[in-house]
Assembly symmetry: C2
Homo-oligomer: 350 residues x 2
């Protein structure tokens, strides 16, 4: 009998592997009380939506050598992140994630603990948000690991936020702090050991999707447009502006960047503002609320209730401008620059 930890996935068949993984997944795969009529084990999952709700669906594919490097990620961290990016997309619509389907392609010589680790990471994060793994596919992939996760969510029709929901004069706000994920990646790539790097490497490896924050924000009834920051503040602001037929201005001095990120940027010789604007993968929420006389008070109240409910700060970073104004950055000295969209491009590299 082969020792279990030395087993490669080619040594066991596909069916035993799925059964094994269902054990690893524990109750995240069982789904009793989670709207799961039939989960893993038949041709398709059978799910029960909340009556009258709309269905949300999103998917993301992470490819070894493009989106992640096994030198940086443990299997658990990869599983966590692959789910997190999808939960973030559901949160970015203001909706609640409910179910996930995982397709995992692995080199045939992959050791079993790595496979189990990936599913364990998925299951850890899924558990935090009541998300159930209801299906998937596990296959060999000669040239490297590929993971695709589809997340299904739901929301009442009146509680879904689109990118196109911004109006001229709206205020632009962001949850949490920016640049952490780019700083984390830079720490790995530079190989240095700046003080306080755990915070930023965690932001890069195991981002925390703003699902609860989205619920609090949507509850306020104030949200116009909503987006998650997967490609940097500049690119996501441009997306909201473009979808809403508007321009926008971002105020440099308001962009929330943590002291750790500034310190690490200084240490490694990077510009922390570029990380925040173009670094991507922060998975914070970017939203608009109505401008006008009541806006300062509304923004303060919203920030207070978000902080109280989730511990996450909320910061005003800009305003929506008329169409044709483009995307601008108002510098600390009062000068204004045009911002081009220079977020991460998956074909051209970063």
């Amino acid at each position: 009998m082969m020792r279990e930890k030395k087993m490669q996935i080619r040594d066991i068949g596909e069916f035993p592997l799925i059964e094994r993984l269902a054990e690893t997944l524990g109750h995240a795969a069982r789904g009793a009380g989670y709207g799961v009529i039939c989960g893993i084990g038949d041709d398709a999952a059978v799910l029960q939506m909340t009556p009258g709700y709309r269905l949300l669906a999103t998917c993301d594919m992470l490819v070894e050598g493009v989106h992640f490097d096994w030198n940086y990620f443990t299997p658990q961290q990869l599983g966590w992140k692959a789910l997190a990016v999808n939960l973030s997309d559901i949160a970015a619509m203001g909706a609640r994630p409910r179910w996930a389907l995982v397709s995992l392609g692995l080199p045939p010589d992959t050791l079993l603990p790595r496979v189990e680790g990936v599913y364990h990471g998925i299951s850890q994060l899924a558990d935090r948000f009541g998300v159930t793994l209801v299906g998937g596919d596990t296959t060999s992939s000669p040239a490297g690991t590929v993971i695709n996760i589809t997340v299904l969510g739901e929301a009442p029709r009146s509680r879904i936020a689109y990118r196109s929901g911004a109006r001229e004069g709206d205020w632009l706000l962001v949850t949490g702090e920016l640049g952490g994920s780019a700083a984390g990646l830079a720490c790995f790539q530079e190989g240095g050991e700046p003080v306080g790097e755990e915070e930023v490497t965690r932001a890069y490896l195991t981002p925390w999707p703003r699902v609860r924050e989205a619920a609090v924000l949507m509850n306020s009834g104030l949200v116009g447009a909503l987006n998650d920051i997967s490609d940097g503040l500049a690119s996501e602001t441009a997306e909201i502006a473009s979808a809403s037929g508007l321009g926008a201005v971002i105020m440099e001095e308001r962009i929330p960047i943590s002291s750790s990120v500034r310190r690490i940027a200084g240490h490694l010789g990077y510009d922390p503002l570029r990380w925040a604007l173009f670094g991507g993968e922060d998975f914070e929420l970017l939203l608009t609320i109505p401008g006008g006389k009541g806006a300062p008070l509304q923004a303060r109240r919203l920030a207070r209730s978000l902080k109280k409910a989730t511990g996450t700060p909320l910061t005003i970073v800009g305003r929506m401008l008329p169409a044709g104004e483009g995307i601008k950055l108002e510098k600390k000295d009062g000068t204004v620059q045009e911002l081009s969209e220079r977020g991460y491009n998956h074909f051209r590299g970063s």
Copy 2:
């Protein structure tokens, strides 16, 4: 300006590519009247289910060098097949497919017509069944092409068929004919040109998912268990038997194998029975109906209505046996053999 056909996907950004593809997809991506509130272009699709219906979800990943070979498939054929295997899984639950999400990983030097071809193939098949492409991800994949499709479907709760729905004494029936896909693959692998190979290469490259057949079968109210044949008749029968806590017998002389498949098998020196039992990827439906006195008449009527509605034949191939009988093959000479599960195993190879 670069000539369009020579453009590689690395030459254009991710956003222009998705926009371009949305054009290729035509109305399959628009989804007016198809329950699509918001399709491609926001963080997640927003979909409207039929009130009171249950949600079905399935996904499959096809990897270059494991599930397909560019020497055999055109881009259109690959797109078609990647969607077909998922539509077949929804049909295998008796349900109606409605929406699809496509993740496509491609080498950065992939030429644009190949990418567009894949989406064109998906869209061709999607159109036939009123399925709308509502989301996806397009990314680079250094080592080869990977495609993952998730299909979402729906059905009334009383009209969903599970593998576990068989009872002792039920009859086992199959739609269409078996072994065609394996024969098609053999034609490519052997490189010969047997007479009539178009029928079988088509079965391998562009299988026709039995979505309409599933609807007719479910309408009859007779279906107990239902499965699609993706891993050969033996393996799928074993799955129904196992999920239902039963055994089963397959009658060799009843297995529907076309004259083309027999001729090609003879020409290439293969056993057509092995193709049907273990060859896989036929994507026909395997189902049970109640046995007993009325069964012969019911089976004939069901076959007649299926033929009339869809042109597809329906054949009795076996019976469900008590638990502990295992899976048996009754040979033409009346002798009985134990059938082991020897369908395609994705890690061990075929």
